[in-house]
Structures are given as structure tokens and as C-alpha cells.
């Protein structure tokens, strides 16, 4: 990228080649995500499933990066301008951590101190058939929440 500022205003970023490259990357990442999604269908919650879901989230962030950096050309803007957008978004780190932590804590407290709630949650209901027959119905009757 040997552009100077004047050129950058006119023509930033790579040409059609870059578009094709990013399209292929995005498609491949999506296919991997879907493959991972298929792989965990019907599996009861476990460490492995959590790990796969974590990998899907990492791939999601990679896709977001490619869309913002190349399709939206943010990578080719001036650094100061990039920072005015990226730095405020760092709030999300706190935002996500604090709220999910709180949600999880609420669940644990309620299960510990509100026996009625915990019992209600372990009652099984008759499975309603929605327009379909049996598909990958997983007998996970021995699993009662966490």
C-alpha cells in the first residue's frame, strides 16, 4: 500500500482481486461454521459442545473483521479515524462480560434459593409435533438443566 494521502481519497483499497479473495474467505468461514453447527446437532450439553460453540464465535468475529476491514474499507482509512470508531466499541467487552455474568449468577442464585423454581424447570412437557415427524429427537431425559 504505497498510497499517499491524496491518492487515498481517490482510490483506496485493492481492486476486484481483493473483493474475490475476501468473498472466498467469507464463504469458506461460513461453510466451516455451518459444518461445526451440523456436527453438534442433537448432542447433549458438554465441554466439547461448548468448545465448538466457542470456535463458532471466534469464526464469527473473523467474518466481522473481514466485512468491516475490506468491504467497508475501514482498514484503508486514516488511523485516527479508525480509532474514533474502534475505541468506543471496546465498551462491548465490559458490556458482554458484565451482563452475561449477571445473568448466570441470577440463574444460580435462583436455583439455589428458590426450590419451587428449580422444580418447575425440571418438569417435562409433552412434546408437541410441529408439522414434522421424528427427526433427530434426542432422548436427553436424564439431563435436568444445570
Amino acid at each position: 500500500m504505497e498510497h499517499n494521502a491524496a491518492q487515498m481519497a481517490e482510490n483506496h483499497g485493492g481492486g476486484t482481486k481483493e473483493v474475490i479473495r475476501v468473498t472466498i474467505i467469507l464463504s469458506v468461514i461460513t461453510l466451516i461454521e455451518l459444518a461445526l453447527g451440523y456436527a453438534i446437532i442433537g448432542m447433549p450439553p458438554s465441554t466439547l459442545v461448548t468448545a465448538v460453540k466457542g470456535s463458532i464465535l471466534i469464526l464469527m468475529m473473523a467474518k466481522a473483521f473481514y466485512i468491516v476491514a475490506y468491504f467497508m474499507h475501514l482498514k484503508h482509512e486514516l488511523k485516527n479515524m479508525i480509532m474514533t470508531i474502534v475505541v468506543p466499541l471496546a465498551l462491548f467487552i465490559w458490556f458482554i462480560t458484565a451482563f452475561l455474568w449477571d445473568g448466570n449468577s441470577y440463574k444460580n442464585l435462583r436455583n439455589t434459593y428458590d426450590r419451587h423454581h428449580a422444580e418447575q424447570n425440571s418438569i417435562k412437557v409433552e412434546k408437541k409435533e410441529h408439522s414434522s415427524g421424528e427427526k433427530h429427537a434426542q432422548p436427553s431425559s436424564d439431563h435436568k438443566g444445570h
Partner: protein
Amino acid sequence: MATTATAMSTDTKWWNGGKSPFNVEYGKLMMWYFLMSDAFTFGAFLIAYGTVRFSTNGWPDPNEVFQSFPGLGSGYPLLFVSLMTFILIISSVTMVLAVQAGHHMDKKGVVKYLIWTIIGGAAFLGCQAWEWAHLHHEGAWWGSNPFPNMDGSKATTNFTNFFFTITGFHGFHVFSGVIINIIMLIMTLNNVFEKRGHYLMIEKAGLYWHFVDLVWVFVFTMFYLV
């Protein structure tokens, strides 16, 4: 790239007046800041969804809920949403190509790729309308959730409430994006940008359209995959 950017900010006195410090057109910068605020709106929705999901003992299995494909019936988890995802990615690509054609003052190219982008957006909206109609037919709506939790216990209506609110809000963004792109197409056909001497307006519409695709990356992952 990082090295050239830092070299530039020390050599060139960006803040001494006489030039645009961010080297970006005003409208484009404001579009970026609007999108940042919109990111916080969607972020708030998705984090609310995550928080409620974390605070609940059971949750419906997305592969049980979303498993139908028009014309094929049910039993195809992830298939329909894969189609929707690829439609949106491809329409994002055609939008990039429209912006690039604009850089080269290629009116024909802009028109061609804008039309493809509009078709992609309309196709996505059609898919979403079908999915909503299908779920509604199964008894799912705001305040009504026919799907049991993964562990077989009775689910609350949180699942459907969040699903319809968030995909609805995203669908509304797709809809406005399609309207914006149609306006851009009409302006291009009327030679508005040709007379103005640049196609920077297409770039701003493009930023909005890519943002819609970006949000779908998150919505798609949160509701259908994890």
C-alpha cells in the same frame, strides 16, 4: 499499512487546518458514526438476549425450531438459514462492486451491480417473510412459544420474543437498505452522480448495506448456530 499510516500522521500536519484531518468526506464520516450507534443498538438487543438465556435453566434447540425448507418440508436444520446467509453475503459483494464501479465513473457498472444488490436484498426479505409465516403457522409469535426446551421442560416465551424482535429489527434494516439502494439506482439512472462528478453517495449507501450484512453475521450465529 499501519506503518504508512503512522508515517503519514507524523509527516503531514493533519490538524493544522487546510485539510480534512480524517481524509474522509463529511457524509461518510457521519455514516460511520451512525453505524457505530446502530451497532450499540443491536449490541444491546443481542446482549439482552444473551443475558436472559444465561439466566434461564432451559432453552429451545434451534435445530428443532428452524428445520424447514420451502418445498422440502421439515427435517433440514440450518439449510434455509444457510441460503439466507449466502444471499446476503453475495449481495454485499455486488454492493462492493457497485462502489468500485462508481470509483471508475462507470455508470453502467453501478446500475448493473445495484440491481443485483437490490435483488439480493429482496430475496433475503422474501426468505425472512417465509420463515416468519412458517413459524407463525406453527404457533410461534410474540408472547407465544410452542417449542419446548432442549431438556424437555416447558419453555418461556423469551425465545420467540427475542427471535421476532431481533430478526424483525434486522429485517427492517434490510428493508430500508433496499429502499436506499433503489433511490441510489434511480439517482444513478437520472445521471445525478454523473453531473456531480463523483459517486461518493453510492459509497455511503454501501456502508449501510455492509452493516446490515455484518449484523446478520451476529444474528445468524446467536440464534441459529449457538
